[in-house]
């Protein structure tokens, strides 16, 4: 257990830039863009003599009914979580390339000879890398997103209080704890959902003698094209769309957080039918975790486990350094 902790720590040391600084910089850029937008709005507002907020706002809030107040709360929630969207995309890219390099880079620069001189099994090495991709990276991303979201909330509150709006009252309308809980609750699901992608990418990383990226992308893409081609020719009745959606995309794109939502028809329908309710409910565990009932998730986990086992085997026998 102690060894495993240090193995994960080693991954963090090596990939501090991707795991830690990439989400922080993304979040910071996001905040700066927001502040710029606010300043623009203020300047334009002042120039055209439009009074934002002020007593009008205060009156509006006072007169607003419960439904309207809920809407304002929803707006603040969405604003708070919007940085997560951007950070998710960046994290997906980081994890994708991390997995491709995880078992390849040290073979290329021969540092594998140093790691293999220590009494560490190939299984723990590979599993520590899987854990870094599926747990460490999303946990850091969520922590950063939460901090950025709270800062965002504070900035909005400050701006509004400059316009004599009772900021505290506004903040009380949002649901920061629920939003944080929602994000955290999605980490285990992300780990399960991302396993087939992580497995495939790491398998390529351990197996390829060179250019793991090319192999990882080309193999599913060429297979997909072949399936489509046979479909167009009407030779075999192969389910083209099914193949692209359930094999190609699951192998490559499941490392992007939130990619599971697209596959979870039930959750989409459920949140759509709720209409007016908080759009955050798309991410809420009561909806996202209905995915646990879908065979797609579990078949993916199974495929990922097989691929990871393959990666461990190739980690042992590939002898090209």
């Amino acid at each position: 257990m102690k060894t495993f902790y240090w193995l994960v720590k080693r991954e963090f040391w090596e990939h501090r830039g991707g795991f830690l600084w990439a989400p922080i910089i993304t979040g910071a850029v996001f905040l700066v863009l927001n502040i710029m937008a606010i300043i623009t709005a203020e300047v334009l507002g002042a120039r055209h003599g439009i009074e934002i907020g002020g007593s009008n706002w205060q009156m509006m809030i006072a007169k607003a009914n419960e439904g309207d107040l809920a809407q304002i709360g929803v707006g603040l929630d969405v604003a708070m979580l919007s940085s997560m969207g951007l950070i998710s995309i960046v994290m997906g890219i980081v994890v994708l390339f991390y997995c491709l390099g995880a078992l390849y880079d040290d073979r290329r620069d021969r540092s594998i000879l140093f790691w293999k001189s220590l009494p560490i099994s190939n299984t723990s090495t590979v599993l520590s890398k899987v854990a870094s991709a599926t747990i460490l990276a999303p946990v850091i991303a969520v922590v950063v997103a939460v901090i950025i979201g709270l800062v965002q909330l504070v900035i909005f509150a400050l701006v509004l209080s400059m316009h004599h709006v009772n900021a505290w009252q506004l903040i009380m309308l949002s649901h920061p704890f629920r939003a944080i809980g929602t994000l955290v609750s999605n980490i285990p699901l992300y780990a399960l959902w991302a396993i087939p992608s992580v497995g495939w990418l790491m398998f390529c990383s351990a197996w390829a003698r060179n250019k793991p990226f090319l192999w990882a992308v080309a193999v599913p893409a060429v297979l997909g094209l072949l399936v489509s081609w046979f479909g167009i020719m009407g030779l075999f009745n192969l389910p083209t769309v099914w193949f692209w959606k359930n094999i190609v995309q699951r192998a490559l794109l499941s490392v992007f957080p939130g990619s599971n939502i697209v596959y979870n028809d039930r959750a989409l329908e459920a949140s759509a039918s709720l209409g007016n309710d908080n759009p955050l409910s798309v991410l809420s565990p009561t909806h996202t975790y209905t995915l646990l009932a879908s065979p797609n998730l579990w078949l993916g986990v199974l495929a990922g486990a097989v691929l990871i086992a393959g990666a461990i085997w190739y980690r042992r026998v590939r002898d090209d350094s």
């Binding site: 102690k2 021969r110 000879l113 001189s117 002898d319």
Partner: protein, 285 residues
């Protein structure tokens, strides 16, 4: 004496070359063995087999373990330095020490820090900021702090200047080696390790062509400097090698009668490099 490494019928082929051809050898505890051979002779393959880094046919026992299946446990007792630049470039000195200290049960942190204190390395320095010699100092400090029974060195001083090379072997002898430890080393800089070796193994085309201890080398091999008039007699005794220096011929004999040799000229012990050159004649032809 107990054997640290026993190999019998060790065999390994790559696609179209034989790297190890039914090799048998035995390495005893407390020895410093030089595994010496021309490029592509199978040295690195033999070391990789010992370290469980490659598959092979035949029997191989390292410290009672089979390196193919019990590698994780074997590596607690075995250390290796495979050529210089294998430390990852992003690693810092502090991180390297922390990591090894926490994953290696036989690592002595205080010892490692004492070794590092003798160098110019600083805790926050990254491997990519170090010269080759400094990388080796770091690697050696890590390895010497591990109480292992077998140390495998594959070209450990390749590309280092002579100061680092001398210091490397000196540290190994003074601060590391004792009767419970065994060192296997391959290198092309034979002259530098000649005086520290206790055993010598020559490998050529996947076969062990010479396996002896250094004392036996002096008894078995002899070099005689013969003047031109006696050269024909010397030649008739089937020398391993002949070369000319200052109008005299130097002959290298294997197992020739000492008294006869002394009657022909000055006899001395051949250097390992001369022996190597004589044994490997025609390797690249």
């Amino acid at each position: 004496m107990n054997a640290v490494v026993t190999a019998s019928g060790l065999n390994k082929r790559y696609k179209n070359t034989v790297a190890l051809d039914h090799v048998n050898f035995r390495i005893e505890s407390g020895r410093i063995v030089g595994l010496i051979g021309p490029n592509g002779a199978g040295k690195t393959t033999a070391l990789k087999a010992i370290l469980g880094l490659t598959d092979f046919q035949g029997e191989l026992n390292v410290l009672g373990f089979d390196p193919r299946t019990q590698r994780d446990r074997l590596m607690e007792q075995v250390c290796f330095i495979a050529d210089v630049a294998v430390l990852p470039r992003w690693l810092r000195v502090r991180e390297a020490v922390d990591f090894v200290a926490n994953v290696h049960p036989r690592f002595n942190r205080a010892k490692c820090e004492a070794f590092l204190a003798r160098t110019k390395l600083t805790p926050d320095q990254r491997v990519k900021q170090m010269s080759k010699g400094m990388i080796v100092q770091l690697h050696l400090a890590l390895v010497m702090a591990i109480d292992a029974r077998l140390l495998v060195l594959d070209e450990p001083t390749l590309g280092l200047d002579i100061l680092y090379r001398k210091q490397f072997y000196q540290s190994l002898l003074e601060d590391y080696f004792d009767e419970n430890k065994t060192i296997i080393v391959t290198t092309h800089q034979v002259e530098e390790i000649e005086h520290i070796l206790t055993d010598l193994m020559f490998i050529r085309d996947g076969k062990i062509v010479l396996d002896t201890d250094m004392e036996a080398v002096g008894e078995r091999f002899a070099e005689v400097m013969v003047s031109a008039d006696k050269a024909a007699t010397a030649r008739s005794m089937k020398p391993l090698d002949e070369r000319q220096v200052f109008g005299k011929s130097i002959f290298l004999f294997d197992g020739a009668d000492r008294a006869t040799l002394e009657s022909m000229g000055e006899v001395r012990r051949p250097t390992v490099s001369d022996l190597f050159v004589a044994t490997m004649k025609g390797t690249y032809a």
